[in-house]
Each structure stands twice: as structure tokens, then as C-alpha cells.
Point group: C3
Chain length 212, copies 3
């Protein structure tokens, strides 16, 4: 058996990580799309939105768990185990903070359609780039494209910072402290989503630096 | 000297890390037990509670420092130096956030016995599982038991999220913005304790995946 | 070519990282000095302060980017690529949180000269020690001095915790919820600066433990 064949023999087990990361990418894209569309026609008396977001969050938990189970069973991994763990955990944080944002919008009954939707659009764009980057990370087939996606994700995080300060300035105009405390809290959760997307971008850039 | 003897020769220096981590586990269990009991009979005019919590926090600092001193002196470690550092730092964060919670309950003079005690019970349960996991991590004698503890710690973190949202909903009923700001801040510190316990669980699961 | 010459041949490419980290250290020292001096004569009608702080923040971004570009081009690094990435990212966080503090002081129009200046003095002292530590980390020429700086940085972080609780106690005396929410937010950003300095100290201590 030649060296090429040996590598081929390992491939199927190795590939499982990319299959799972692809599914996480797909789930985050769908979740952020649903969030962005739902937030624009938010109805406090209908809890379909929060239930569906919760389902996406659970699905992400299950995929993350599957990645850890595979890590425990596979000796061969496409990149360092620490990188796989860090990437899986940070991707899961994105789903967690999207869910937390939705939960407190619902609990606090303070939909702020305009600026929430600006955040959710940036979140969705960041998730689309994460999905692209995951696809291009596979077999390190296009490191330049991964890097390009990471730069875009960082730019969305910068835009989210600007949305946050603009939203806060508008919020303080209301002069209603209770409302301010509630909406500030939701805005911080929303802003964490793009922060975690930036963490994901940093991890992917590191993986490229190390292996590509 | 046979290979077995060579390993035996290294053991005493290697073991020092588990001795220290055991002491950290013991300290966190005692600290969280004292916190949980104290918070139920909290007396703002008596600062014994905060003094004792501060003592536990200092003891944790000293143990963490000892772990780093040993790291600088020992060539042989039971697992990667990075994992020892990360584990020691995150365990210390648990003590830091317990202390911060106690400090602001005391400074803000806003004891919220019922929900604070729900948090502190979860904190104590998480610390008990951390202690168990540390014991079972020793010599990798029972990886399955470590994993079991980590799953429980994650479930306590999920329950703490629910306690947080319930506590916030009750808090906003008061309609008193100053009180809301103060208690929200304490609740966030308390919730960080179980978050840091989850970080500890993630690190221990990683160690098992790498070595067991 | 002797072994010594081989090492010399690698040196110039290796050294580039220390040159860049030196520049980051210098930038953080200048930024924190400007911040500390500016905050004591803060004028809300003059946006020179925030513009200059923003310039320092952009310069830090550029230096951080240069470090990552070098990482992608150099096979030889003075210490693990992960450590270089972590150090560069956390140093950049210091600049980011200084900028965020300045931005919200300006946006919220709530200069609190006294306690803001106590924070900024600690921030500046921490940055001076970071600069020292970077210099002494070069070629691992003085690990004991790096450690000494790290201990000082940790002590500044502890002092910043005390400034924070004192500032919050004074703030709540105002009984003005809107003002409290705004200033609390600025205080938290300021406190994050010394937290990130502590993270930098932890990373540098780890590097010393690993290599020195």
C-alpha cells in the first residue's frame, strides 16, 4: 500500500469533522436568516419565534456534542484537537447569544425593530461568511478565500459597534430608565453575537497560519 | 533500573499538581458551602460573611500561585503546561466571581435571599462536581466519571441561566430603576460563577480527550 | 557554517516579531499617557481627544495586522505561533477598550474627572510595565524582570477593582438612574482595560514558564 493509499484510508474518519462543521455553518445561516426575518415582524403575543430560535440553538448544541464525541473516537484530526474544540465552542457561542438576544427581547417585551434588524442583518452576513470559510477550510483548499471571509466578518463586527453606539444614543433620548436597562441588555447580547463571530474568524485565521 | 522504576522516580514531582488542584477543589467546595449557607441568613450589619469569603478568595490566589511556581520548577507535568495554566486560571476565576458577588451584595445592601440562594446552591453543586472531577482526573483513573461531572456542571449552568431570567423578571416588577441596576449587577456576577465552572468543565473534557 | 552561524542566519526574520511587539508597547504607553492627561482636562465641546485616541487605536490595529502578516510568512518564530497570536490579540484588546472608554465618555457627555483619572493612571502604569516586559522578553534576556512586571500589572488590576467599587458607591449617591447607567457603562469599559492588561501578563508569564 503506497503512501497515497494510506492517506486515503484515513480520509473518511478525518472528513467527519468537516461534515459536522458544515452542518453547524448551515444551522447558523438558517438561524440568523430566521432571526433577521422574524425580528422585522415580531409579535409579542406569538411565541413561535422564540420556540423556533430555541430549536436552532438545541440543534447547534447537538452538533457541537457530536464534534466532541468524534474527537474522543478519532485519533486522526484535520487540524489540532485544541483548534477543533475552540472552533466548535465559539461557533456554539454564536447560537447561544442569538438565543439569549431573542429570549430577552421576548421576556422584556421591548421590540426595537429598526436597530435590532440592523444587528440581525450583520449577524446573518457574518454567518454566511462563516459558512463560506468552513467550506474553504476543508482540505485547506482555498486559504485565501478563508482569509477574505475573516476580513469581512471583522468588518461586520466593526459595523455592529457603530450600530450599538447609535442605538444607545437613541435609547437614552427616551429618558425612561427601566426601558433603557432592558434594551441596553438586549443590545449587548446582540453585539456579543458579532463579537463571537470575530472570535471564530480569529481561530480560522490561526488555523490557516498554522497549516496552510 | 527498569522503565517502571523510571516512571516511579518521576511520580513524586508530577503528583504535586494533583495535590494542589485537590486543595483548590476543596477550597471551592468550602467557599461555595459557606456562601450558600451565609446568603440565607445574610446580615448587612455584620461583615463576617464578606471577610470569610475574602479569606477563601485569598487562599485560592495562594494555591493558584503555588501551581505556577511548581510549573516553573518542574520539567515533568501530568498534562500539557497550557492545560494546567488554563485550568488553574479558570478555577481561580470561580473564586474571584464568588467574591465579587458577595462584595456587591454587601456594598449595594440589596440581599435578595430567595434567588441569590438558588444561584449559590447551583454554584455549590458545580463546585462539588469540580472536586469530583479533579479527583477522577488524577492519573486519568476514571475518565468516564470526569465526563459525567462535566455534563452535570453544564446542566447547572443551564439552570443558572433560567434562575437569571426568572430573577430579572421578578426584579423588573419592582419598577425601581436604582434597585434594578444594583441587583442586576449582582445577578450577573453570580451567573458568571457557573459560567466559569462550565469553562473549567470544558478544559477538563479537553484534557480527557487528549490523554485518556 | 557552524551552529552559531545557522542561528544568526535565522535571527533577522525572527527579530521582526520583537520589533513589532516593541512598537505595540510604545503605542500603548503613548495612548495611555495621552488618555490620562486628556481625561483631566476633558472638554466635551472639543473632539481632539477622541480623534487622537481613535488614531492610536487604528495604529494598534495596523501593528497587530503586521504581526499576523509576518506570522503567515515566517516559518521561524521566537515562541509558539499560538502565543504570538494570543499576545497580539490581547494587546490589541487594551487599545480597543481604551478607545471604547473614550468613545462613551464623549457620547454620554459624562466626564467624571476624579475616578476616570484614577483608572487612567493605573492603565498607564500597566502599559509601562507591559512595555518593560516586552523589552525583557526579547531573546528571553531577563525572565525575572518580565515576571516582576507581570506581578505589578496584576497589582494594578486589583487596585482598579477597588477604584471601580469606590466609584460605583459614589455614583449611586447621585440617585440619578440615567446618569448611573451611563457612568457605570464607562467604568466597566475602563476596568476592562486593566483586565486585558492582566490577560497580557498571564500570557507573558506562560511564555516564560514554557521557554525560559
Amino acid at each position: 500500500m503506497g503512501l497515497g493509499n494510506i492517506f486515503k484510508a484515513f480520509q473518511p474518519k478525518d472528513k467527519v469533522f468537516f461534515v459536522l462543521f458544515d452542518k453547524v455553518g448551515q444551522n447558523l445561516v438558517e438561524m440568523s436568516k430566521y432571526f433577521h426575518e422574524g425580528i422585522q415582524e415580531f409579535d409579542l403575543n406569538n411565541d413561535d419565534f422564540i420556540k423556533k430560535i430555541s430549536d436552532f440553538e438545541h440543534k447547534n448544541d447537538d452538533l457541537t456534542h457530536s464534534i466532541f464525541v468524534e474527537l474522543g473516537q478519532n485519533f486522526i484530526t484535520p487540524f489540532d484537537r485544541e483548534d477543533i474544540t475552540a472552533l466548535a465552542n465559539k461557533l456554539d457561542d454564536i447560537a447561544d447569544y442569538m438565543y439569549a438576544s431573542a429570549k430577552y427581547i421576548y421576556l422584556y417585551k421591548t421590540p426595537e425593530t429598526k436597530e435590532y434588524a440592523e444587528f440581525s442583518l450583520l449577524m446573518h452576513k457574518a454567518c454566511l461568511e462563516i459558512q463560506n470559510a468552513i467550506i474553504n477550510l476543508k482540505d485547506f483548499k482555498d486559504p485565501a478565500a478563508v482569509k477574505e471571509s475573516c476580513i469581512k466578518i471583522n468588518s461586520y463586527e466593526n459595523l455592529a459597534d457603530d450600530v450599538l453606539s447609535k442605538a444607545l444614543m437613541n435609547l437614552f433620548e427616551t429618558n425612561d430608565p427601566i426601558r433603557i436597562i432592558k434594551v441596553q441588555s438586549v443590545l449587548n447580547y446582540l453585539e456579543e453575537v458579532t463579537d463571537k463571530a470575530e472570535d471564530v474568524a480569529n481561530i480560522m485565521e490561526n488555523i490557516i497560519i498554522k497549516y496552510a
